[in-house]
Symmetry: C2
Subunit: 207 residues, 2 copies
């Protein structure tokens, strides 16, 4: 995404090409959430009224910036993974030999297309956790941005979860599919409640 | 936003500049939702299995593209409105004459900074409505994208609502503030339930 213009990305998202799609959108949602957390940190750091949370804010900024970069990278990872699946589906499957050659390629590609949004979901869940800290200790003047960060992170988490689940049915390794579903459940569990808690704190701190 | 690179936008969002902030992020979230709806329409249109919904899909695409453009424009509208408030706050307020001059400028600027996210909230609510149709009639192969569209739209709506509410307390025209709050309540009312309904339909249609 290094040189992609914002309008170009949205045009491509809207277009009839298969990528970028919802998986990439989930990664961008998460990256926006992390960026907004960094903004809250940057506008809290160095302010005398928030001197007592300076160390915590610095640590938060470091983590949000790492997550922002990771999630931005996942836009492209998701595109590559999806294209891998498409390429596998396009392999010839007319003869037994062809089907035998295609089968492991497709299963590996599906697994990569599952791992990519699962990683995105995990990163988005961490952004949501950080948003809870930012909402509690960040500069009140920009506290609504911590709320927007939480909303973007939760949308990213649930969007990534949808993109994991579209592949689960096609995975032949049922143990792996079950492990993925369990990991997803852990990530999603309580996230809705966490979001509402964050928004309540934000609402209470709006000057 | 015409020439802005995606990475630049995220850098600016994360940075210590006051804009772009959560209001612009809300507009981008809504525009992403609309873009994903357009994608679902574009990948449903012309497919034989969906010939019976072709007219509905074409109408949906026209509306989602209009909303995508409108919401994209709101990224800049929000920045301009916020800068207007900042400029008004920077006006001298040392003498009675200065305060008398500053007062109406600030109130007008605050009103514009309230209108901008309120329009964004209204547009995002429409994206969420369209997502419900897309989830019901769109191509099953890309139905998860309708779910991501709904998640982005709802995050946009609630984010815009937060950005409306940060200004309400500073508005001296209490009738206006009450009218805005009422309009916001109508927009938000039932949106969470609508989102869950959409996600249930999407989950049920995932192949």
């Amino acid at each position: 995404m290094e040189q992609t213009q914002l309008t170009t990305f949205l045009d491509e998202l809207a277009g009839s090409g298969a990528t970028p799609g919802g998986g990439s959108a989930a990664a961008l949602l998460g990256s926006m959430g992390a960026a907004l957390l960094s903004m809250v940190c940057n506008l809290t750091h160095g302010k005398q009224a928030y001197a007592d949370v300076e160390t915590e804010i610095a640590a938060l900024l470091e983590r949000s910036e790492a997550l922002r970069a990771a999630l931005l990278g996942m836009i492209d990872t998701d595109i590559a993974a999806f294209q891998g699946v498409m390429a596998a589906y396009r392999m010839p499957a007319g003869t037994d030999a062809e089907r035998t050659a295609r089968h492991p390629v497709l299963q590996t590609a599906l697994r990569q297309a599952t791992e990519a949004p699962l990683e995105c979901a995990a990163a988005a869940a961490r952004v949501l956790e950080l948003a809870q800290t930012a909402a509690a200790i960040g500069n009140r003047n920009v506290i609504s941005d911590a709320g927007v960060a939480a909303l973007a992170a939760q949308a990213a988490l649930r969007s990534a979860a949808l993109n994991v689940r579209i592949n689960l049915g096609s995975l032949e390794d049922r143990d792996y599919a079950r492990t993925v579903e369990q990991r997803l459940t852990v990530l999603l569990d309580g996230s809705g409640e966490r979001l509402e808690e964050i928004l309540e704190v934000v609402q209470g701190r709006i000057a």
